[in-house]
């Protein structure tokens, strides 16, 4: 789609806004609708829009599949690691109460950490699936 000038200009303008909105949904999920899953999907959608307009190779330069593969695992690791951390601090698995000095702060910290893990995994998996499917066309 290299020759669609309008699409290119609009996409260039919209992509950073989509990514910013994804971060807002991610970190404001405690207070408003949203959370890791939705944020991850929106973040992935931003990259997919970029790939659709500027080509797969450009998008893969920004987010190589090897990095995405690492990130997909990292997200699950953050989630599971939060559970292990609460085990180490003397609570049950995924009991966030023990993560900080008082239970409310612990809950807050735990929820932010696991939502981050969900977001990272979902975003990178969405990108992996799209890049793999779209990459088949070229070969």
């Amino acid at each position: 789609m290299k020759h669609h000038l309008v699409l290119r200009v609009v996409a260039k303008f919209v992509t950073p806004l989509i990514l910013l909105f994804a971060l807002y949904v991610q970190f404001h999920g405690d207070y408003s609708p949203g959370g890791g899953f939705q944020a991850g999907v929106i973040f992935g959608a931003g990259f997919i829009l970029y790939a659709l307009i500027f080509g797969l190779d450009a998008a893969r330069t920004v987010a190589p599949v090897s990095v995405l593969r690492f990130a997909a695992g990292l997200g699950v690791l953050i989630y599971g690691g939060t559970g292990v951390l609460s085990l180490l601090r003397g609570g049950e698995y995924l009991n966030y109460n023990v993560l900080a000095a008082d239970p409310i702060a612990g809950q807050h910290l735990g929820i932010i950490m696991i939502e981050l893990g969900v977001g990272i995994t979902v975003a990178s998996v969405m990108m992996i699936i799209f890049f793999t499917f779209a990459g088949r066309e070229q070969s």
């Binding site: 609708p33 949203g34 959370g35 929106i42 809950q107 995994t121």
Partner: protein
């Protein structure tokens, strides 16, 4: 009153979309229709005050799955072959009876938002009463998903991770290279 009006309008559009999707043969248009279908469904969720669900429906159904289907369409033809037109009254009968039974089944369902519904009697009241104090998170949906039901969400994340890895293993670059090597090896 206005809620009912909007509900009826959205459901009418939903039904129109469903019929259009069934009747259409151009798969590109069908994918777009699916996207609109999801968007209307998301609107219905907003009316039901289910903001989180609406968000997911709009992002996944209206956004990502549309793009993925378009990517899949790029690998195949974008027109569905016309099926042989043959009227089967038995099929129509089965569908009608099944639909009638399903509608009959909804008669016993509790009314929308009924506080005495079984689904609202189990652990829901405790989450609503204690959730705010216990987690300090204003969005109760986030509190339930991330804290009370943390194990479920961990499972969901693992499922998504597995899906991504499965796609990579099946049609990723490494899989293709290995298959190529295997083909060359067998032809020699």
């Amino acid at each position: 009153m206005i809620d009912i009006l909007v509900d009826i309008t959205l459901f009418t559009f939903l039904a129109i979309m469903a019929v259009a999707i069934v009747r259409m043969r151009n798969l590109f248009a069908v994918v777009m229709m699916f996207s609109i279908f999801s968007l209307i469904a998301a609107g219905l969720f907003v009316i039901m005050d289910a903001g989180d669900v609406a968000f997911t429906e709009a992002a996944v159904g209206g956004g990502i799955s549309t793009v993925l289907m378009l990517a899949a369409l790029g690998l195949t033809r974008s027109r569905e072959e016309k099926p042989a037109t043959r009227r089967s009254w038995l099929a129509l009968l089965v569908v009608t009876v099944t639909g009638a039974v399903l509608v009959y089944g909804t008669m016993d369902m509790p009314a929308f938002g009924d506080p005495n519904a079984p689904a609202h009697q189990h652990v829901g009241p405790r989450y609503i009463e204690q959730g705010q104090q216990e987690t300090g998170v204003p969005n109760l949906v986030a509190a339930v998903l991330a804290s009370y039901r943390g194990f479920d969400t961990l499972g969901e994340t693992a499922v998504i991770f597995t899906a991504g890895m499965a796609v990579l293993l099946l049609i990723g670059k490494h899989a293709r290279r290995r298959r190529k090597a295997a083909d060359e090896g067998s032809s020699e």
